[in-house]
């Protein structure tokens, strides 16, 4: 594909990405009949260099599948996924550069570190794999990485089991940074921590992003975290992106009823508990005919149950898009 010279290609670009997994129908152990599970459908997403994007959604919304497509770990069934203007799968197949450039922080940080290796060995392994420096330079490099994530250089001698939850996350971040990446993809990197530890890590990620000019793709379920760390947000529901835009604009005045429901469900000091969204996310095996959210939407009308809305630009707000036939008016609510 040719790229016009007047613009830098986006880091990631997804065009109408669809991912269908062929699975056995659950509950029929011996049946050979397979059915399609639509994990992603019609996903359009552009991530510009230096951007910070939060992917938000409940379990089953397709966040992890989207991540796998972005990282080229699985090809999309339909549609195109580009990394800096080239198909992701091709970029990945070409060699080590893609993995060096795009670093990942896994959700289960402790599980992602080998318990039999010292912290220093874990970091050295990444340095060697990506041929970042010579062996003599390694100790200095490791000390530098540890300081950068706010750990003492002596931590290199210890094992992951001796570290607290917050420290383990820092090591996982340090390892991701070992290859001097330009893109950091983090899956729930600050969830399940105490508030003070979480706040420390959020500040660390902000600092690293500013210092290294990282492009950040951050999966989270916490809207507060999304607003603190990311300028843009993409809210997912059942394999679709239902709303995107600048984080604070989307969260102060959501256009999609699901985005509003998420916003209202987030705990807020002294706010009365609002009526929760009824029902649960439906099974991706039998999707409703019209809008996927219609069954739980309090504002659904007849046409919502018949027509499936695509992600459309919102004319009255810059940079925002929503997949809703009757978007909410963009007033502070």
């Amino acid at each position: 594909m040719t790229i016009p010279n007047d613009r830098i290609p986006p880091v990631f670009e997804l065009r109408e990405v669809e991912k269908v997994y062929q699975i056995k129908r659950p509950g029929r152990l011996f049946s050979r009949h397979k059915v399609g599970l639509h994990a992603l459908d019609g996903v359009r997403l552009t991530i510009q260099p230096g951007a910070s994007v939060a992917l938000v959604g409940e379990s089953g919304s397709g966040k992890s599948t989207l991540l796998r497509v972005l990282l080229g770990l699985t090809p999309p069934t339909q549609g195109l996924a580009y990394y800096k203007g080239r198909p992701v799968i091709a970029a990945r197949a070409e060699g080590i550069d893609f993995a060096r450039d795009v670093a990942m922080v896994y959700q289960d940080a402790r599980g992602s570190l080998d318990p039999r290796m010292t912290v220093g060995a874990i970091l050295a392994e990444a340095l060697r794999h990506f041929r970042i420096c010579t062996r003599d330079q390694e100790p200095a490099r490791i000390a530098d990485l540890l300081t950068r994530v706010g750990l003492p250089a002596e931590a290199a001698a210890g094992y992951p089991s001796a570290l607290s939850g917050g420290q383990v996350r820092r090591v996982a971040i340090a390892r991701a940074l070992a290859s001097n990446p330009t893109v950091l993809v983090a899956d729930e990197a600050v969830s399940g921590l105490d508030v003070s530890t979480q706040a420390q890590l959020l500040n660390l990620l902000r600092k690293l992003r500013a210092e290294m000019g990282l492009t950040l793709v951050f999966i989270t379920h916490d809207l507060g975290v999304a607003s603190y760390l990311c300028d843009e947000i993409a809210i997912m529901y059942l394999g679709r992106i239902v709303e995107t835009g600048p984080t604070n604009a989307v969260l102060t005045a959501p256009a999609h009823p699901y985005a509003r429901a998420l916003r209202r469900a987030a705990p807020e000091f002294f706010a009365p508990i609002t009526d929760p969204l009824p029902g649960e996310i439906p099974s991706p095996l039998d999707l409703p005919k019209g809008c996927r959210f219609a069954g739980r939407c309090t504002l659904a009308r007849d046409d919502c149950r018949a027509t499936d809305p695509a992600l459309m630009r919102l004319p009255q707000a810059q940079g925002r898009a929503a997949a809703c036939l009757h978007p909410l008016t963009l007033m502070n609510d």
Binding site: E58, T197, L202, F269, P276
Partner: protein, 316 residues
């Protein structure tokens, strides 16, 4: 004020030489909801476990009067079996692990009713269906036959709530009942627990780590640090204007939509072996003085709440 339903005085719990809980005192009025908050290792869950008689291999001291039971501490198994599940019950954090995978949810619910309320089989079954309906499970009759793994996390937690409320307990413990669930389902479960306990006139103790949620769901709050009560009182007093440096720190670390800047202190909860003699928070406290390291501040009333601090924040 009516007589408290639960009155805990100087609850202290040792594991070996470690003092996991240090003189925790709290009380709870009938129909009231109380939040126990603090970082991990603060002893929140240990308090609820001790008050349910679920701690083993630990030395427990202090007193806990519950309604007409003079002291829960030191109660024998026979005494506990009269209380647990009947007058005191608990919703656990991980419903998937708390429910028995080998039995249908209907039979687990009916067992509780038959054992604790002495209902005959048929009545127990009918009542179980009613209970499942009351916690918002559609098609309850069919769901009775479901095994826990066939239900979603939110549905499992609803079943847990139904089991916990089956015998109309006077006091319900909810230990992080929603932290494993998605946000919209979290809101449903919190709402369900509040509605159900209110309908039964029961009191509820929530173990939470989310201060914002505590302010929404609970009347009163107890802030714990390393097994000591730092500050306690009405949520709208304590959380609106925290005076204990620890409460203030916790609140300042909460990230909300639109939070511009966080300023968390470095470091974390010290290990139980390295705690200061006096106030356990002294090593992280920005306002600590010599006195704080040497002697433990007593829990006294000031500014409309109970507080244990030698050098509290002054009014904003």
């Amino acid at each position: 004020m009516t007589a408290p339903l639960l009155q805990v005085q100087d609850l202290t719990l040792y594991r070996g030489s470690r003092k996991i809980l240090d003189s925790v005192s709290l009380d709870l009025a009938p129909g009231e909801t109380l939040a126990l908050v603090g970082e991990s290792g603060a002893g929140k869950s240990t308090i609820s476990a001790a008050l349910m008689g679920l701690v083993e291999g630990a030395r427990v001291e202090g007193h806990a009067r519950f309604d007409d039971v003079p002291d829960l501490i030191g109660l024998n198994e026979k005494g506990w079996s009269r209380l647990r599940g009947r007058r005191l019950s608990m919703v656990f954090q991980d419903a998937g692990a708390a429910l028995n995978p080998c039995y249908t949810v209907g039979s687990q619910l009916a067992t509780v009713l038959r054992r604790n309320m002495g209902l005959p089989r048929k009545q127990a079954h009918a009542r179980a269906v009613e209970l499942l309906e009351s916690v918002g499970i559609n098609d309850a009759r069919a769901r009775m036959q479901a095994y826990p793994h066939q239900l979603s996390g939110g549905m499992q937690q609803r079943v847990m709530v139904a089991i916990a409320l089956a015998c109309n307990p006077e006091l319900l413990f909810a230990d992080e009942p929603t932290s494993a669930l998605d946000v919209t389902i979290q809101a449903q479960i919190v709402r369900l627990i509040l509605d159900q306990t209110r309908a039964h006139g029961a009191s509820c103790i929530f173990v939470l780590h989310d201060l914002a949620l505590a302010s929404q769901a609970c009347d009163r709050i107890v802030v714990l640090y390393a097994g000591q009560v730092m500050e306690s009182g009405r949520c709208d007093v304590v959380l609106a204007d925290p005076r204990h440096p620890y409460t203030k720190l916790l609140k300042s670390c909460v990230v909300e939509i639109g939070t511009e800047n966080l300023d968390p202190p470095e470091g974390g909860v010290p290990s139980y072996d390295a705690l200061p003699q006096g106030c356990r928070f002294a090593s992280r406290c920005p306002r600590a003085q010599d006195q704080c390291w040497a002697s433990r501040p007593p829990l006294t009333e000031s500014a409309g709440r109970m507080m244990a601090c030698w050098n509290p924040e002054v009014a904003a």
